[in-house]
Symmetry: C2
Subunit: 113 residues, 2 copies
DNA sequence: ATAATTGATCGTAATATTACGATATAATTG
DNA sequence: CAATTATATCGTAATATTACGATCAATTAT
């Protein structure tokens, strides 16, 4: 974030920004969609699906994991990644609240219309 | 984006990622909230509101403008910034579609529960 | 016309992200 | 046990973002 200024903003603003950052890369969007559609959600499968290096995908997975959006459970030599559904609903709420807050505004209220 | 790989992803994935990137900084979240709540939405007011340099805020405003999320109309020496409501609804739809796509999945479908 | 105000743009430093190959770790197979 | 497979982590280069001061362009006020 350049020289970091997170302290200037509310926890809620920082939280939304963090969640948005999770979706702010097409590879992570693709990963989430793939996990949503697939029963066999393992890292290896993703490497074939997206054409990115294994280490790159692992890195993206870690980021999603840190934000709690996905969970990984060890299954022998491989890892089963899947969406964390409860957390996901929470995130959806967060975005929805933001969007509602914004679109509450009636067109007539705006200064430049 | 490091070495850019946008060509690997669908237009839809890239579009969502771009929109998410717009929200991926607390200053921009704050700007959008402020514009939503305020009738007097001018750049100068924002500089007092957020404590960031004028040039920094201008930069954030340009980013939001490029994505069509806000519009600026010149009003004498100053500029009136406001949300682009129609575009905003479009964006909301975009996110909503994504969230619905994700949460269509029933818990039982997942491999690691 | 000059000065003051407003906002955009430029240049640049600090920092963060993205991507990859190489290597490490852990489980599985032969 | 050695080889293989699956994933994580490290190191690092390329690129992008964030932030600021300085400056420019336009408008308004004196």
């Amino acid at each position: 974030m350049g020289r970091s200024k997170t302290a200037l903003f509310t926890p809620s603003q920082n939280e939304l920004a963090d969640l948005a950052r999770a979706l702010a890369h097409p590879a992570r969007v693709a990963i989430l969609q793939y996990l949503a559609n697939s029963q066999s959600c393992i890292n290896g499968t993703l490497v074939q699906e997206l054409s990115l290096a294994q280490s790159t995908i692992s890195q993206h997975l870690q980021e999603l994991k840190e934000l709690g959006l996905i969970r990984g459970t060890i299954d022998g030599a491989s890892v089963n990644y899947c969406l964390d559904i409860p957390r996901w609903r929470e995130v959806q709420q967060y975005f929805q609240a933001f969007f509602e807050q914004i679109s509450e505004i009636k067109t007539g209220d705006l200064c430049c219309d």
